[in-house]
Symmetry: C2
Subunit: 457 residues, 2 copies
């Protein structure tokens, strides 16, 4: 490994420049007028993948943006990994808030600023650098590699599922390495082994035919806004627990080991309240710490409320309708479909006969949970440890990444979320940046990963 | 009285034409571009008041639209009544929905259509006709009369209070007759002896500094929309009773007599649900009928709700803020100020320490309740009975008329709400109409009123 690591350390500048080059292509997938840039970016990436030593390069067509494919499959008998990343980026708006031009990656001290530097272009080049270093130093890889870099992650990976289904055999792998997540904090190399799922609903409560005057009608009319509020309040009990019968049935118990791991992370609840949330207080839980609440406990949040008169001043109206958007973050092993059924059943049960309630299932997403004792996972953990020279923290995330479930489920492979972003790198905001230490140590981590996986088989 | 009644019956056409003439002046007080029409209307009215026999006619200036004053004060030793009405009207929008031109009063069978025919121009001419009939038939009135017709009722009577305060002595009267209300139904001559009051609030719940991602933050953050819903749900108990401590303390008990009176009115709860409300069901109350709920029981209605994402689709946001507009209809003898204090106190008590809550008192209004055993009230009841040849129903209204409290309170006189509108005459909507039977019998009622009041003193 020494040669490989030396190679990487000697070529840092080169890969930094490669990131700058690709950041200069504004591959904003949400902007239809930049379709040409998307294609230009995919082709540019394909060339750099070839340069890194990958073969069979192709822009795989989809009904949307192409997926760039490449592989190297000459390690007979060795395992195969599939690397996932994306080359499309978020829009640069609001562009006025950028301190450097968004599509002109700019190094300031140990940071590189620019749209897409960390999400996800920089992370793609971590992989390309590791591949190149192996080929240049060893002439080959100790395992087989397949790569897919998609162009629609920022707009919901809408054609990824079909692509995976149609190319199941081509993409078959022992493990999928997803490089689109982050570390817990600077100096805390980490692997994300759990994500929460999601079940999102809209409730529309309809009472009277039209808005009514609260003087002439107030009393015998069951105001839909009052009804909605009454129903929403019944979704949680007095202790803040979700009151939908059966909701907690499949919720995984936290292990003592996990709780100890979390407790050792550099996390201050009061600082979180003050700096990250900015609220007068947190919703304390007698049984769970804040990190446990964020990562391992399901939630029920009202995401939107609308009814009646919301302008300045007073209008004495009984609204004909009231609307709420309600979503639940789910944890292993909650099934969003089952939760949807339980939710609907409970809503029907608590709907009074004074109104009609329409329930719309907006979308759902599965939780994700790695088996941390699985050899591939251990390999990943060990490789990060070797690169950063620090124990790898096992962390989870409160959010959902829908495509992770697609990948693992459709391809029937375990996934490892091995990313090198930091939580404050403004992934979807102005002044997105990438920490260069993590960029360089990330390359070394991936280089070690091949070694560690090969060693274990 | 026979001559007077004969006179009125012989001059119906004339007064119908007078209403048509004044409806032709578009005195829309909410439209600043029609200020000239307001003045033209006030002058036109002043001339018709002079023609009816009133004296000391004057357009009393206010910072807004003038109040037209007139009197006749030659019945030494007899009581004095003050007649209140308004000559301004609602806008004609949406004008496309009118079947006849809004400012060209049009007789169709026994109805007169046009903007302001019933609210309130037709009712003004009921009084002028009665006055004229007395003067033409008897040469004098049996009591003293003062008249104020204001020009800002449809925009909240904003300068009325000051005018009343500044002219307290000039306006002193034994009783105020307000002609701006209605009857229970066609064929049910009625006097409104009670109105509900109002206390209106806005609640703003503020939690995090800004909107947060429900994945990254859901759980330990007490979502302001969830908090708002929780708090609003606590404003009523499981039986639909308002849960603010002390709220019912001053609520008047209904008398058996009132309940019997209401029960005799032609009112069908199922028809009300279906035709007037159009909801699947009503908020039934074990103790009170629908009419009792509408007229004599306080309410708590959410008039507006707003938080987070309310557009199409799903956004996984924890909103930084949530807003509700909440109002209570109050009944005798609830004081809106006291209710405001109780509400604020309770809100403070149920506010968790995870958010800040701002309470804004929007506006309040006092209930109104006539003493139905008072001689003036009995006189009014008897006069309507004589004209319509049917027992006068004693009814109440669920709404509030803020100026009624101003008049009775500032002038320290009882008020009688003696109006001849019907609930379905589209007072604030296109195709406003006036029932001509009620117009003609209204004139006779007012003519009898003078006689009945004079008799009792």
């Amino acid at each position: 490994m020494d040669n490989i690591i030396s190679y990487l350390r000697g070529h840092r500048e080169e890969y930094l420049n490669k990131v700058k080059d690709i950041v200069a292509i504004p591959s904003v997938s949400s902007d239809p007028e930049r379709k040409d840039e998307i294609i230009r970016c995919a082709k540019h990436l394909k060339n750099d993948m070839a340069d890194a030593g990958l073969e069979n390069l192709e822009l795989k067509e989809t009904p949307g943006n192409p997926i760039v494919y490449g592989d190297w499959l000459h390690a007979d008998g060795a395992p195969t990994i599939l690397i996932y990343g994306h080359y499309d980026v978020q829009p640069e708006d609001p562009v006025d808030l950028w301190n450097t031009p968004p599509f002109e990656a700019t190094k300031v001290d140990d940071r590189l600023y620019g749209r897409g530097v960390i999400d996800d272009k920089g992370q793609l080049y971590i992989h390309l650098a590791a591949l190149k270093a192996w080929f240049e130093s060893e002439g080959e890889l100790p395992l087989n590699v397949k790569v897919i870099f998609e162009g629609e992650e920022e707009i919901g990976s809408k054609h990824l599922d079909d692509f995976l289904k149609e190319n199941k055999d081509m993409l078959a792998a022992d493990c999928v390495v997803v490089s689109d997540t982050g570390m817990f904090a600077k100096g805390v190399p980490s692997i994300t082994y759990g994500l929460r799922g999601l079940a999102y609903f809209q409730l529309d409560v309809e009472g009277p035919d039209g808005d009514l005057h609260s003087g002439s009608f107030g009393g015998p009319v069951d105001n839909p806004a009052n009804v909605l509020v009454r129903m929403l309040a019944k979704l949680k009990d007095e202790n803040g627990r979700i009151a939908i019968p059966g909701f907690y049935e499949d919720v995984e118990e936290l292990t003592e080991e996990e709780r100890e791991n979390f407790a050792q992370l550099p996390f201050d609840e009061e600082e979180f309240r003050k700096e990250s949330v900015g609220a007068p207080g947190l919703a304390k839980d007698d049984e769970f710490t804040v990190l446990e609440q964020l990562w391992c406990r399901p939630t029920l949040d009202i995401n939107g409320l609308y009814s009646g008169f919301t302008g300045e001043g007073a209008k004495t109206v009984i609204p004909a309708k009231a609307m709420a958007k309600v979503s639940m973050r789910l944890v292993p092993y909650q099934d969003p479909e089952k939760i949807g059924d339980l939710f609907e059943e409970y809503i029907r049960e608590i709907t009074p006969d004074t109104v009609n309630v329409k329930i719309t299932r907006m979308h759902g997403g599965y939780y994700f949970l790695s088996d941390v004792n699985e050899p591939m996972f251990e390999a990943a953990r060990e490789s990060v440890q070797r690169a950063f020279n620090k124990e790898t923290a096992l962390i989870r995330e409160g959010g959902s990444i829908p495509f992770v479930h697609s990948i693992t489920n459709i391809l029937n492979s375990p996934a490892i979320l091995l990313g090198f972003g930091l939580p404050d790198e403004n992934a979807h905001a102005p002044n997105e940046w990438m920490d260069l230490d993590n960029f360089y140590l990330g390359m070394e981590s991936i280089a070690y990963l091949y070694d560690e996986i090969a060693k274990r088989t």
